[in-house]
Amino acid sequence: MNFFQSITSALDIVLEKDPTSVIFGEDVAFGGVFRCTVGLKDKYGKERVFNSPLSEQGIVSFGIGIAAAGATAIAEIQFADYIFPAFDQIHNEAAYFRYRSGNQFDCGGLTIRAPSGAVGHGAIYHSQSPEAYFAHIPGIKVVVPRGPIQAKGLLLSCIRDKNPCIFFEPKILYRSAVEDVPFGDYMIPLSEAEVLSEGTDVTLVGWGTQVHVLRDVALMAQEKLNVSCELIDLRTILPWDVDTIAKSVVKTGKLLIAHEAPLTGGFAAEIASTIQSECFLNLEAPIQRVCGYDTPFPHVFEPFYMPDKWRCFEAVKKLVGY
């Protein structure tokens, strides 16, 4: 099963088991531009899987209403780059509904799916990774899976979580990532990072596509520098798992965080700040952040902008050479 098929599989399970669940968004009825909802309209009917007009603010706010009334709303924003017209609804309406109503109302049944991240040729409006904007909003959860097995389990958790969730799907993985995804129903807990390979010298933290880049970096570091890296997939950006990373840094004393979004104000900044506070005496080198540049996402210069394995490898060298 590839990544987009694992998403379809998760949605299929939800539609089958939860009669209140509905899926809507731009072009989802005919399968969506990335084919994540293929066949679901035919199987469950056009009352449950339906196209919305091109209105991101409308899609999200409509979803808040559905969820507030007790149903399960799965909204698709066609590209994460287009989510901003809905920013107000996500921020001021969805995230704070529970708090401001003294827990009388909430929209926990809402999950917003959006393809994000670089794809090799997407240029300015089909490449962005906006997770850090949403990490600043108490009341929502933000999740980024790294592959098909994770995607299915984490998406099922998001949909069933009683808080509004944003699920960013790294679009380059839709077809390129293939794994033996279980057909059945399973969930992967939110707010738990996963240690993918243990190491002793440097902690590498990433999410989504960047996990695969860091896996290469760990191999290169082992081969070329004889440096042992511990690789962690953060998985949930908000609320995030401080413990797993802090424990690792206590062991290694060195931390590298990498993401595609621009450096300034990126989520790596939050991790670095927290870890220096939690692990101050354990740190043996300044925390390294390898991120996108502080430029708009470029067109022909994408290869330079990306925090690729060479840039990350340089940062590992800096850490161990400090």
Partner: protein, 388 residues
């Protein structure tokens, strides 16, 4: 959807019989000709554009050439995309040529235009060269935004783009019209969007402000029948887009007829300078998918596309008109076709081989005059450059 097409096909055919000049001749003897166009549908207007339009031979040949140029450019762009020389996104204008050509013919150079991402035709008609469009798509320095913007991001004097986010350009267009009015410029802004974007909330905010302050803004809904993969009757509660400005008068024009579009735009231009905003719905059709990743066949039949190509195509229809009315001979038309092909092919070749921008440009034009010690954060120190 087909029924929508047919509705506008039938009267068009009837109008073909109403030429003032019906003789076919080997020599183009007519210096001008008049035609009857379909009457426009009107909303909150007592009188609409004239249905009797006159075109000179020179203008007719110009419009034909411009439409062919765009058609050929889009065919070549599609091919460049398929051969992976254009990467990313690419939204073709084929089928909609009569709108930009007809509108440009009715406005002044100083008038402003702002459109969405299906911008290639508009870029060309607003003065960007074929190379400027194609090289922007291939990301070369000869592109109209130096290759920095890529697909969708094309600009020229009084052409404010080329905007990628659905509907986001519409309030900007109202703002541009405000500036025109504020500076007593006697100029207008044409603000375009598609039938899909017509459902974005910000359009209605823009309508309200434009009418509240009576801005010289022509809102134009290029209705090609499909919002990406969703046909209009499945996305819009009201598909009479020319009425959706409610308190703003509206006109529905045959967007496949360059002369009708020109006449309608002339009417609208006069109107907005005197009375404030108007809304034009130009009924048209896109032959390709929404973008290159959409084959354009999963939500409509091949027969439907073929049907439009045969019966409503803006270029072949116009060609037939100008030939039967003796404004141009088949030889002249053929000569234009050959020239167009040659020019576009040459531009395409150059768009493939021109260089990309130097890497420093990655850091430039993020801010106006950044502080002299400003460096773009996050960059690899080995290629770190100051930003200008």
């Amino acid at each position: 959807m087909l029924s929508v097409c047919f509705k506008s096909i039938r009267p068009v055919n009837r109008s073909w019989l109403n030429f003032s000049y019906q003789l076919v001749n080997n020599y183009a003897t007519a210096s001008e000709a008049s035609f009857e166009t379909n009457p426009c549908k009107l909303h909150k207007l007592d009188q609409g554009p004239s249905t009797n339009v006159t075109v000179s031979r020179d203008d007719a040949l110009k419009y034909y050439r411009e439409m062919q140029m765009i058609r050929r450019m889009e065919t070549v762009a599609g091919n460049l995309y398929k051969s992976k020389i254009i990467r990313g996104f690419c939204h073709l204008y084929s089928g909609q040529e009569a709108i930009c050509v007809g509108m440009e013919a009715a406005i002044k150079k100083e008038d402003a235009v702002i459109t969405a991402y299906r911008a290639h035709g508009w870029s060309y008609i607003r003065g960007v060269s074929i190379l400027g469009v194609l090289a922007e798509l291939t990301g070369r320095v000869s592109g109209c935004a130096l290759g920095k913007g890529g697909s969708m991001h094309m600009y020229n004097d009084n052409f404010f783009g080329g905007n990628g986010i659905v509907g986001a350009q519409v309030p900007l267009g109202a703002g541009i019209a405000f500036a025109k009015k504020y500076t007593n410029a006697d100029e207008i802004c044409i603000t375009l969007y598609g039938d899909g974007a017509a459902n974005q909330g910000q359009l209605f905010e823009a309508y309200n402000m434009a009418k509240l302050w009576n801005l010289p803004c022509i809102f134009v809904c290029e209705n090609n029948g499909y919002a990406m993969g969703t046909s209009l009757d499945r996305s819009s509660a009201s598909t009479t887009y020319y009425t959706r400005g409610d308190y703003i008068p509206g006109v529905q024009v045959d967007g496949m007829d360059v002369l009708a579009v020109r006449e309608c735009t002339k009417f609208a231009r006069d109107f907005v300078l005197k009375n404030g905003p108007i809304l034009i719905e130009a009924s048209t059709y896109r032959y390709s998918g929404h973008s290159m990743s959409d084959p354009g066949t999963s939500y409509r039949t091949r027969e439907e596309v073929q049907e439009v190509r045969e019966r409503r195509d803006p270029i072949s229809k116009f060609k037939e008109r100008i030939q039967t009315s003796n404004l141009a001979t088949p030889e002249e038309i053929k000569k234009i076709d050959q020239e167009v092909r040659k020019l576009v092919d040459e531009a395409a070749e150059q768009a493939k081989t021109d260089p990309e921008l130097p890497l420093e440009e990655l850091y430039n034009k993020i801010y106006y005059q950044p502080p002299s010690n400003y460096k773009v954060r996050g960059c690899d120190p080995s290629i770190l450059a100051p930003s200008t």
